[in-house]
Structure formats: structure tokens, C-alpha cells
């Protein structure tokens, strides 16, 4: 077990009071595995990732929980110790490459900077290694591109640079937060292809965050579907997609236009407001399979073979 998140809870502190944002997240990332976190905006998937790196904004507080990386609880580390983990052990790729890159430095300098800081390389060595990294992420003419500024590159090329930066310090865990959402479809495929090729070559372990459940089909080993600050379904990806158990997972799959001839079955209603107090299952008001007790009792995880589902329908299995 490389990385384990145990019962993680995060609160949002405002003048109006505390509101729970993450309501107890448990998940495990094994060596060499790809774990996909799937859910809609606001479900807490990005916050889970940010709390692993301890990069939460100041108004969010970790109330409870442990994040164990190689037998160390990251939440107990001092800030300087944490700095050695970030980048070197666990690195992250963000959604929007144009925001992740500094517009006033060339892309080569930005990659080389990571190498100088984390690997302690001299300027010249760093430049050579940076060019090599640009080559590995398949940027054409890396020698020339080293001197390009971010605005001179397309979105796909920029995301390649961001990947090169994330890999520069040779981390063991890579967190990719919607790495292709800002890109056009044809480019998305190329970037994911690259990402998984590099993951295989370097034996990385990957946490892949996406709102698109079908993207996980071919490459994620394990999928965690999140809703309203909780994981509602957790299991092996191929089986989970073929045979979803939780009504929310089912709804997500049937909301996608699969082929023009089968009608869409959208999930009715909307996600509850985080400030509202919810006793039972947070999916209750949108669920078409609901039972009376769902309105006041929060379902625990029920295990069916190697799947975990947070839904009362599976109580007896």
C-alpha cells in the first residue's frame, strides 16, 4: 500500500458556521495502480487531491482523518518536511495548463527550475535534462521549443510541458486533476495516451481525477465515484462500468448520449446545497430507487464481493 486516505473530513469555515465539504473519504492507492476519482463539480474530488499535498486554501480545515504515505502520516509533517514530499514524491498536474505555467519565463527554464530545486543540478546539466524531458513528452524540436514562451504554444503542447515539469523530480505518485478537460477532443486523446505511456514506462502510481466516467474504462484499475463529499461506489473499473450498483453511478452512465437512437435518461434534480443539513443519503431527493429509511439514515458501505457501495439497496447482500 503506497498511499492510503483514512476517514478524511474537511470543513469549510465561514462566518455563518462550519459546513462539511468532505464527509469521510477512505481510499487506497497501490504501487503502480491507477485510481480514478469520478464525480461532478463540487463533489470534493479536487479537494481530496489537494489535501493529500496539503495545499488546501486557508478557509478549509481538515477536521479528522489520516493520509498515510509510505507509513508516514502526511498530516503530522512539518511544513519543511512536506516540501520534500511535494514534487519529489507526489506531484500534481492541474486542469488548465495556461494557468499552471508562468507566462514570463520560457518553458525550458520552467522545467529546468524544477530540476535545479529538487535534484540540485547545475544550470547546464539542468538545461540538458530539461530538453531531454521535453523530448520524452514528445514536443517536436525540443531544442528550439526550450526557448518558447507559454503563449507561443497550443493548449495541448502546454499540457505536455506541465507533464514534463511534474515528472522532472521523478515522483512516485502523480495526481492528474482533469488534465484534458481544457483541451479539444482530438488533443485529449493524445495527451492521455502520452500520460499512460509515461506512467507505464516509469512505473508511476496515478490518481486520475475526471468528471467523465467513460474515460476511466480502459486505463483505470480502480474507480471511486464521489457524490457530495463522499465516495458512493468503489471498485474495479471494468466491472463497475459494466455493472454499476449505486443509483448515482447508474444515472451518470445513462446521462451520456451513447448512440442517437436510445433515449437519454437524465438524473432529475440537482446536487443539494452544502449549507443544507442532510441526515440521510444525500442522493435521496434525486434517487428513483429510494426506500423510506434513506431519508433519515445515512447508508454505510456495503461490500459485495470486491465492490463497496454506499446504498441501502444492498443491505442484505
Amino acid at each position: 500500500m503506497l498511499l492510503e486516505v483514512k476517514d478524511l473530513m474537511i470543513n469549510l469555515n465561514t462566518k455563518k458556521g462550519k459546513f462539511a465539504i468532505l464527509r469521510g473519504i477512505d481510499m487506497v492507492l497501490k504501487q503502480g495502480e491507477t485510481l480514478a476519482l469520478v464525480g461532478e463539480s463540487g463533489c470534493g474530488k479536487t479537494l481530496t487531491a489537494l489535501s493529500i499535498l496539503r495545499l488546501l486554501p486557508p478557509n478549509l480545515k481538515i477536521e479528522k482523518g489520516e493520509i498515510i504515505y509510505k507509513d508516514i502520516n502526511l498530516l503530522n509533517l512539518k511544513e519543511e518536511e512536506m516540501r520534500k514530499i511535494r514534487g519529489r514524491e507526489i506531484a500534481m498536474i492541474f486542469q488548465e495548463p495556461s494557468v499552471a505555467l508562468n507566462p514570463v519565463f520560457t518553458i525550458g527554464e520552467q522545467v529546468a527550475e524544477v530540476l535545479r530545486v529538487h535534484q540540485g543540478l547545475k544550470k547546464k546539466e539542468a538545461k540538458e535534462r530539461a530538453i531531454d524531458l521535453l523530448k520524452q513528452v514528445k514536443i517536436p524540436d525540443p531544442h528550439l521549443r526550450y526557448k518558447s514562451y507559454p503563449h507561443q504554444l497550443s493548449g495541448g503542447m502546454k499540457q505536455r510541458v506541465v507533464i514534463a515539469m511534474a515528472l522532472a523530480a521523478e515522483p512516485e505518485v502523480l495526481i492528474a486533476d482533469e488534465p484534458t478537460t481544457a483541451l479539444d477532443v482530438t488533443i485529449q486523446a493524445q495527451i492521455l495516451d502520452l500520460l499512460f505511456q509515461l506512467k507505464e514506462e516509469r512505473g508511476l502510481s496515478l490518481i486520475f481525477i475526471t468528471h467523465n466516467l467513460t474515460l476511466t474504462k480502459s486505463f483505470a484499475d480502480t474507480v471511486a465515484v464521489m457524490y457530495f463529499g463522499q465516495i458512493v461506489e468503489y471498485g474495479k473499473s471494468d466491472f463497475l462500468l459494466k455493472n454499476p450498483y449505486h443509483p448515482y453511478t447508474k444515472g451518470l452512465i445513462s446521462s451520456l448520449p451513447q448512440d442517437p437512437f436510445s433515449p437519454l435518461r437524465p438524473i432529475p434534480g440537482t446536487v443539494p446545497d452544502i449549507t443544507s443539513e442532510i441526515k440521510g443519503c444525500p442522493f435521496y431527493n434525486r434517487c428513483s430507487y429510494k426506500l423510506p429509511k434513506c431519508s433519515f439514515l445515512l447508508p454505510p458501505f456495503f461490500e459485495i464481493e470486491d465492490r463497496k457501495v454506499r446504498c441501502w439497496l444492498y443491505e442484505d447482500n
Binding site: 477532443v185 485529449q188 493524445q190 467523465n212 448520449p257 438524473i267
Partner: protein, 314 residues
């Protein structure tokens, strides 16, 4: 019957570089012609920056074309005065991509939805309230939304308000410019259903602009594919899905299957993402099947069989 027709539309934006710098011209639309028929949904796909939004705006004359003609119900509206245009706006409306920016945060739903009736018909308040309630019911929002403000609604509900505003004056033609891309997957499906229901009840014609060919295939009867300011393929949705002719359409469809099934993305070989500027076909720098002639001139959009047009030398 044609409801709207664009003939050889061109739109050039001028970017100035610095005080004495050269002017840079960007051809957002480079000679696009298309017709949309009454009652249909015409889907327009392409990647960001290909000119699909510009086309929507030019057709409604929210922006004026640099060249070309626009016919609405067989009447040339390219040079109509803004007074005449105002009358015509009752018949043509738009729904924008981002319901967070398209609704004025300081106006209540009553103000937002009542405004068209003030501007166009000077209706008194009581009648406006009736109209607003009727609209809310049409788009499936609760009636107590009347005096709420946009920030009290979720993204999907806001998009419903924007749609209600667009249908307020009973238009016949609506441009929907990426109306789903700011929404979550489960809400997207709800909005698609709403668009389809309104079309059936009100006999609307849509120009549905999207980068997601899966969505367009679901909602549109005919599809146009745009690439760098040009329409490269056009035809019935079924035809295009079954037998795409242009290499770019093929690429888009492959990407769509890949998104749907999550499989087979290794077949995407790294082609250049850079777009060539020099003459020749707009797609030549990314095309696997390019021939020498493709570098010299851009192929015209030609009808290959009934209703299926493609701009490609192959």
C-alpha cells in the same frame, strides 16, 4: 423551407500589435455558406477557435459579417437598420454557453424574463407577471423563482432561465451556442431533454453549436463540421456518422467513440497540433492522407451525393 441562409460569409477580426505594430488579421469565418430549414436542428461541431460561435453570432447579426449575405425567411437582412433588426429579434434568439455570465446578477428572474415584454410590447406589470410564470412553467422551474436572483440557482437552473428568456417572444429560430459545456454531465442530459421538448411544443428551429459530436448526433438532424473558419463537411446526421468523408470528421468521430467507450485511444498518432497558415487545405498540416495538391489550394465544398457535402480532394 429555408428559415435562414448564409451566403459566402466572411468575418475578419483585426488584432493590432502595439502602437506601430503590424495589424494581424484573423479570419474567423472564411467563406461559409449554409442553409437551415424550418423545424430542424442543425448541429455545428468543431474545436475551439474554428469559428462556430462567430457563425452563430453573424447569422443573428450580433456581429456584422465582413463579406457575404444573410437571408432570414428569404429576406436579405445583411444591411437592415438597427430599428428593423429590433423587430426581427423577436424571431431570432440566442442561448449562450455560460449561464453564470449571461444573466445579470443584479436583476431578479422577474426582471430578466419580463424585460423582453417591456422592450418589445410595453406590457404592464401584471401581464408581465403572467407571462413570466408561464415561461417558468415551460422550462420546468418552480413558480416561486419569480423574485429570486441568479445566484440562488444552480448552473442547470440558470441555463433554464436563459432558455426561458430566449423563448419569451416566441421566436422561430434559436442559436444555442455550446449551451451544455458549462454544466455537469447529469444536468446536461436534462437540458438536452428540455431543448427537444420545447422544439416539439413550439416548432422551433435550432442552430446547435457544440464541440461534442456525441451530443450533436443525439439532437441534430443535420450536421456541419467546421475547421479553421471553413465548413469542411455537411450532411444528414446518420450519413455523417456512418460514412464520414473528410479526414477531420473521421478524426472527430474517432475521438467521440473513444470518449464514449474509453477504448482505442492508442490509434491517435501524434500529428502536428500546429495549424499551418500558408495556402492549401486548412487541414493539411494534420491530415494523414494529404496529397501534394492539398498544399496548393483549398478544396471547395462540393455535393458528393444528395445533401452530403465535403471539402476535400480525396
Amino acid at each position: 423551407m429555408k428559415i435562414i441562409e448564409g451566403i459566402n460569409l466572411k468575418k475578419t477580426y483585426v488584432l493590432k500589435r502595439g502602437l506601430f505594430g503590424k495589424k494581424v488579421y484573423i479570419n474567423a469565418l472564411d467563406g461559409v455558406s449554409l442553409s437551415i430549414f424550418k423545424g430542424e436542428t442543425f448541429g455545428l461541431v468543431g474545436e475551439s477557435g474554428c469559428g462556430k460561435s462567430s457563425l452563430g453570432k453573424v447569422l443573428l447579426r450580433l456581429e456584422d459579417p465582413t463579406e457575404g449575405k444573410i437571408l432570414f425567411e428569404n429576406r436579405d437582412i445583411t444591411n437592415l437598420s438597427s430599428r428593423d433588426m429590433k423587430l426581427l429579434r423577436r424571431k431570432m434568439q440566442i442561448v449562450f454557453q455560460d449561464p453564470y455570465t449571461s444573466l445579470n446578477p443584479r436583476k431578479s428572474v422577474f426582471d430578466i424574463l419580463g424585460e423582453p415584454f417591456v422592450v418589445h410590447y410595453q406590457l404592464p406589470k401584471k401581464e408581465r407577471l403572467e407571462k413570466v410564470k408561464f415561461l417558468l412553467e415551460m422550462v420546468g422551474l418552480p413558480l416561486d423563482s419569480v423574485y429570486k436572483y441568479p445566484h440562488q440557482f444552480s448552473g442547470g437552473q440558470r441555463q433554464r432561465i436563459a432558455i426561458a428568456r430566449a423563448i419569451a417572444l416566441e421566436p422561430s429560430f434559436i442559436v444555442a451556442d455550446e449551451p451544455l459545456s458549462a454544466l455537469d454531465v447529469s444536468v446536461q442530459a436534462q437540458i438536452i431533454e428540455l431543448f427537444l421538448r420545447l422544439q416539439e411544443n413550439l416548432g422551433l428551429t435550432y442552430l446547435f453549436i457544440s464541440h461534442d459530436i456525441n451530443v450533436v448526433a443525439y439532437i441534430a438532424q443535420r450536421v456541419g463540421v467546421m475547421y479553421r473558419g471553413k465548413l469542411v463537411e455537411e450532411g444528414l446526421t446518420g450519413e455523417i456518422l456512418k460514412r464520414p468523408l473528410h479526414p477531420y470528421t473521421k478524426l472527430l468521430l474517432k475521438a467521440a467513440t473513444w470518449q464514449r467507450e474509453g477504448r482505442g485511444f492508442s490509434q491517435f498518432k501524434i500529428l502536428s497540433e500546429e495549424n499551418g497558415k500558408i495556402g492549401g487545405c486548412v487541414f493539411v498540416s494534420r491530415c494523414k492522407e494529404a496529397k501534394p495538391i492539398c498544399k496548393e489550394s483549398h478544396p471547395e465544398l462540393k455535393e458528393v451525393e444528395k445533401g452530403h457535402k465535403v471539402a476535400c480532394f480525396l
